[in-house]
Amino acid sequence: MSLELESPVSQTREQRLGSITGYQGNLHDLVQSGCGGGLKNRSRCLSTASSCSHGPAIGQLSGIEGVVVVDHSPIGCTAGQTGAQNLRGRAPTDPDVKIRQRRVFSTGMTEPDTVFGGTETLRDTVRIAFERHHPRAIFITTSCVSSIIGDDVESVARELTEELGIPVGTASTEGLRSKIWASGFDAYCHAVTRSLVKAPPKRRNDVINYVGFVKVGRKKIDHLFARLGLEVNYLTANSTLEDFARASEALGTFIQCGSAASYLAGALEQLHGVKFFQTYPPYGGLGFERFFRQLGAFIGKEKEAEEVIAEQRARYAPELEALRQELTGAKAVIALGGTYAFEYLRMLGELGIEVVHTAAFHFDPRLDNQSDDPISFAADVQELGLRSDVSVNDIQQYEIYLTVKKLQPDFVVSRAHGASPWAVRTGVVAVEAQIGIQIFGYEGLVHLGRTIALELRNRNFSKKLAHHFESPFTETFEASEPFAKLLPEAA
């Protein structure tokens, strides 16, 4: 299915991919019904605050060098981003990543805007933003309010592109359009595809794109690609307009995850024939081996790829074996996004850990690739026989809490979205999941193994804390099954 790249508005994941936010069952069934097109979403009778597409989109757009974002929304939608993104901008230190200010403006929509329309306020704000920072590109993001009142943001962007002489793009980031906040990443990808990606003057066989949040840690992987004669073009925070412009020249794209990057990788494949490598994300040992093997074959460097694989495997084998010895028999619950839930399922298996439940915050049965290549978890089920009980969770952390309490694993692996505190409160160790470059290949797998081993060697923090936790839920709720609030499939 092709992406509607001419439309001003990006399609949501539900529309494009048949993605869902409510499910309980197992991986095998998910693959069968998901890939067969019979997958039905289940809603919940109790829903809690989760997340919307605003944050992911503004976070990514404001991270591009020389870009200013004008959020056409009431102050509250923007304020959250201002705070959050300025923190993210400074999180890890890496010599390649300079700490810089994110520039995000709000039109601060008020009641009169909802009556008379907000496009004049929007024009004024874009002009002020331009005057203040002289950006090289501006992106306008939309909100529930601007969308319901029907402001024609696209026309304003067109007019201002002409007036200011820089690209002024739009991203449809109103929270109500999609149950899946990752649709915000799609809005970002749609916006940069339309405004920044250029047609390739020439094709380069020595460049591969990486689409993700950050390029922190790139030194760990650049040298591996160099062995295949490849340079990595990073399309992440702190990338430049030129990096996006030349993305179309690359031979292919690999991604941090389907949530953040599928749309841009798919768009590059659709528009410019840039191969979207999506079946084997290079995370952990098995992911890396299969990815490098596929990549080597694609560029006719099978031999070099096998050399790198063999070297990497040998280099980390002793420590990996020691970690496997230590970790075999440990039980885990996974609570992660639509891609990493299943990446971690495979990687924990490589470490000898038994996964007793996998919760994905949402689920994409396919990605935006234009080829027939299968999605990674489907390949894993088929090729590696991967199995797990699975729920699709919509960031409903009460389900994680009840699941962890019931299954009593040794640890929970999670990251954003606040599942870990609920594990720790029940006395279960929480392991902070890392993603992207940090878990690339065998080095990443060993790093993960070490992190888990260290956490399990001293469990005092969660063990003691659990004795001092009073549940905010009623006894009836506490006694209920983890997925009791899931309603039957809609007809």
Binding site: S50, C52, G55, P74, T78, A84, S106, T474, F477
Partner: protein, 440 residues
């Protein structure tokens, strides 16, 4: 307010945090799935690593508005969420907060809330529509909903009980530490503080509001309307303290004012003052040799923050540390009726100082108007995490004192009173020395 950069306030729905700070009060949101998350980022997570407990944000019930509800209306979904919440959560009251979307499409939220009258616990309503105001307005609306819905005329009155208002939980990152320390100080001078927010402070404290001898409002303008309503309704007088006292000068003034107003035992009050001032200056004395040793320290400062923080910190920096303000940016849209008065309050300082006070939620205006003159003399910057990069790029001493405070854990720390003054004294000089030109 059109055009705001570096916002330091959330929208009205951020009032949910006031509900979350009162034990037993569970907010139920009729809003988009991400609305609370946006408020959380600026008021809590980026504001000293705060999070609500025991109702962590990601278990706060929310109707998670979707497109189909925009078309067909969202009231039935809300009804379901409220009724599920009544079953699943240990709570003593529910407050339904509506956001932008139901307000635009015309959901009759009041009708839904009304249909839960007679439930095992009260179900109340606050219309915290994001395009109608900021989190301070939301705070006021939530307080009003609780006051109107829960308070009864008192059976008895205390002659010592004082209710504390004016500090907005979470928005003021130091609220918990401040309220605990303030409570201790009030007890030390013979009062019975009734603190409404934080650990062990729940609806039992809230229901005692009408029994108080008086209400203490610590803010240039926030909650003054609430105190006036309570005066009308229960005849409770109120004392407005326009700023949180930080350091010996303002804390001593505050205690003497309080002693006059509440007819406290002067000997007790003066003994506390003497003891605490002595303690403050003990720590200052010990710092002197370190301070006065080949350091080029700033004498001037810029300050950015909400009205309460800005006024409180400015008073301390001028009256006790002896600094001179270059400009103060009050990063809230103070309502028109209070604006002139708020600006005027900055002229009541124990030093001659002629400096602009700029009011408005556009937190980017300071940097937008900054020039090479701004950094001349290396003034200190007192602001939020949003000002830190500018300060560091320009090698200016920086102290994070306002919302959003930054990527740290605020815990129980605070700047209130004599003790808070010692803390801010040390933080200022540490920051100043850390980026000072070394004259050795």
């Amino acid at each position: 307010m059109p055009c705001s950069e570096k916002l330091r306030v959330a929208c009205s729905l951020g009032g949910a945090y006031t509900a979350l700070s009162i034990n037993g009060v569970l907010p139920v949101l009729h809003s988009g799935p991400g609305c609370l998350g946006q408020a959380r980022a600026v008021l809590a997570a980026s504001n000293g690593g705060q999070s609500s407990f025991p109702y962590q944000e990601n278990i706060v019930p929310c109707s998670d508005f979707t497109e189909s509800q925009v078309v067909f209306g969202g009231v039935e979904n809300l009804r379901k969420v409220v009724s599920q919440s009544l079953e699943a959560y240990k709570a003593e009251a529910l407050v339904v907060l509506e956001g932008c979307t139901p307000a635009i499409i015309g959901d009759d939220v009041e009708e839904v809330v009304g249909s839960f009258a007679g439930s095992k616990i009260p179900v109340l309503f606050a219309s915290t529509v994001g395009f109608k105001g900021d989190n301070i307005q939301g705070h006021t609306l939530v307080l009003k909903a609780l006051i109107d819905g829960l308070l009864e005329p008192p059976a008895k009155r205390s002659d010592r009980q004082v209710n504390i208002f004016g500090i907005v939980p979470y928005y003021d990152a130091f609220w918990e530490g401040t309220l605990e320390a303030l409570g201790e100080l009030l007890k030390a001078v013979g009062l019975e503080p009734n603190i409404l927010y934080g650990l062990d402070n729940g609806l039992d404290k809230f229901r005692k509001i009408p029994e108080a001898a008086f209400n203490l409002v610590i803010s240039p303008w926030i909650d003054v309307g609430i105190a006036q309503d309570l005066e009308k309704r229960f005849g409770t007088p109120y004392l407005q303290q326009t700023h949180l006292p930080i350091g010996p000068t303002e804390t001593t003034k505050f205690l003497r004012r309080l002693a006059n107003f509440a007819e406290l035992d002067r000997n007790v009050v003066e003994a506390v003052i003497k003891r605490e001032e002595r303690r403050y200056y003990y720590y200052v004395q010990k710092a002197l040799p370190w301070i006065y040793r080949c350091k080029a320290l700033p004498k001037e400062f810029f300050l950015l923050g909400g009205s309460g923080t800005a006024l409180s910190v400015t008073k301390f920096l001028v009256n006790d540390i002896g600094l001179i303000p270059r400009a103060v940016y009050v990063t809230e849209d103070v309502p028109d009726e209070h604006r002139e008065r708020v600006v005027e309050l900055f002229s009541d300082l124990e030093a001659k100082a002629d400096f602009p006070v700029i009011v408005g939620s556009d937190g980017g205006i300071f940097e937008a108007t900054a020039t090479t003159e701004t950094v001349q003399g290396r003034p200190a910057i007192f602001g939020s995490v949003l000002d830190e990069i500018y300060a560091k790029e320009n090698l200016l001493p920086f102290v994070s004192i306002s919302t959003p405070l930054g990527n740290n854990l605020v815990g129980e720390s605070h700047y209130f009173g004599y003790q808070g003054g010692i803390r801010l004294f040390h933080e200022f000089y540490s920051a100043a020395a850390g980026s000072a030109v070394n004259l050795l």
